[in-house]
Symmetry: C2
């Protein structure tokens, strides 16, 4: 039994590599996490949704830093010009306010104070560790692995569609304007991932590179999964909120 899809001591074809990457998503992407099933199925209280949005803000705020770190390792200007669209998607450019601002409109609408959200003081330690680990991974690993770690975007449109539909249907404190971030990602993520997938398939020419690419995507699915584990532990079961972390009951959430 393989430890992960595509684990092999043989060189794969490009299509076998792509199939293995997609299989990792099918088995490991965080749409499978119990917390997301609760979130999308309308099973959470408002305070738990606040905790999710508050913690996820740190992930959002880390993404442009992650993309700048990747660009800092790109010696090819053409690659930087391609990649920087991801950076713009989050920090904004021209008329586009960017994903971080859109996320803050969600936390605003959920009744969280913007200064508190932006301070990241109330996030779970595991959220910080996971997001920082992602930034450090792309900074320190070969560019091929850094780019491969972005491939969770392959699986994002499905979760965003489920999320928009599920949250609008199930929560009376969620409306369409709060879903702007996810609607936008529905068009952004496929555009981005086409480039990354093509790059990874073309550049992973050896068996060790292919395995490194698969492990990079596993790393990233773990970054996402660990954040939900921590949310579930703190806010669902057994509801052990770490010292200093956001407490919905203390703020009337």
């Amino acid at each position: 039994m393989s430890a992960y899809p595509g684990q092999s001591d043989k060189l794969m074809s490009e299509s076998e590599l792509e199939a293995a990457l997609r299989q990792i998503g099918a088995e490991r992407y965080h749409n499978l996490h119990p917390f997301h099933k609760l979130l999308h199925g309308g099973k959470l209280e408002r305070g738990q949704v606040q905790a999710w949005a508050l913690n996820r803000y740190y992930y959002q705020a880390s993404i442009p830093r992650k993309d700048c770190a990747i660009m800092s390792n790109m010696t090819d200007r053409a690659l930087r010009l391609e990649w920087r669209q991801r950076y713009f998607d989050h920090d904004g450019i021209g008329e586009d306010e960017g994903g971080i601002e859109r996320w803050l409109r969600l936390t605003d609408a959920l009744g969280l104070e913007r200064a508190y959200v932006a301070s990241t003081e109330g996030i779970l330690p595991a959220t910080r560790h996971a997001c920082d680990a992602y930034v450090h991974f792309v900074r320190d690993k070969p560019l091929l692995e850094a780019i491969a770690s972005s491939l969770t975007e392959l699986f994002a449109p499905t979760i965003h569609s489920e999320r928009i539909a599920g949250m609008l249907e199930h929560y009376d404190f969620i409306d369409e304007t709060m879903m702007t971030y996810f609607r936008r990602r529905l068009s952004q993520a496929p555009r981005d991932v086409n480039f990354a997938l093509k790059y990874v398939k073309a550049e992973a020419k050896t068996q060790p590179q292919q395995q490194a690419v698969l492990r990079a995507l596993l790393f990233k699915t773990n970054v996402l999964w660990a954040q939900l584990d921590a949310l579930h532990h703190a806010y669902v079961e057994p509801r052990n909120i770490p010292p200093g972390a956001f407490d919905p009951s203390a703020v009337g959430g």
Copy 2:
């Protein structure tokens, strides 16, 4: 006697700090290097000017990576939005082709093959070490020191003015179109440095921070100086060209 301007075990006022930073430029900026005096005074052969432009390309190509590394360490989106103009200056944005392209037009006009320049295969090892050291410095040091290391821009307009006038006057193989990069920097650098100087003066609140800021600028002046030392050694005196490095005599320069 102080090892460097502003060396002190006391906290300085903001204006004392600025004066010490400017004094570092007055004593250590690479406009003082013998190689630049030769370059601007018309004392170099075309092959030596080629060697300078070829090596300096690697510095130009490293600058956007340096700025992305700084941005990857900025947790404040507003700071990233301020800083990214520097990144745009070099990689280009919209109608602006950017500084790297402008530099390549200089190396084109000097008769260097673009593919050879972009490959960076012919640069001096010390050029690579110096530029890589700069990227690593800003990636690994506190943001305050990373920003302080950019303050050589305080001194850049003078050297660019000298360079444009000197090179146009003295070399028949240099014309106005080849000076586009430097003309552009005359307006870019002062805009950038105003922000950085203000930031550094406001944020260096303690004596250790102030000394770290001064040392960061010293580090950067050394990055620039070391590149000219290597050029001078390889191409002026004693003309010991390292193995693999550009050899003007071999290409008919």
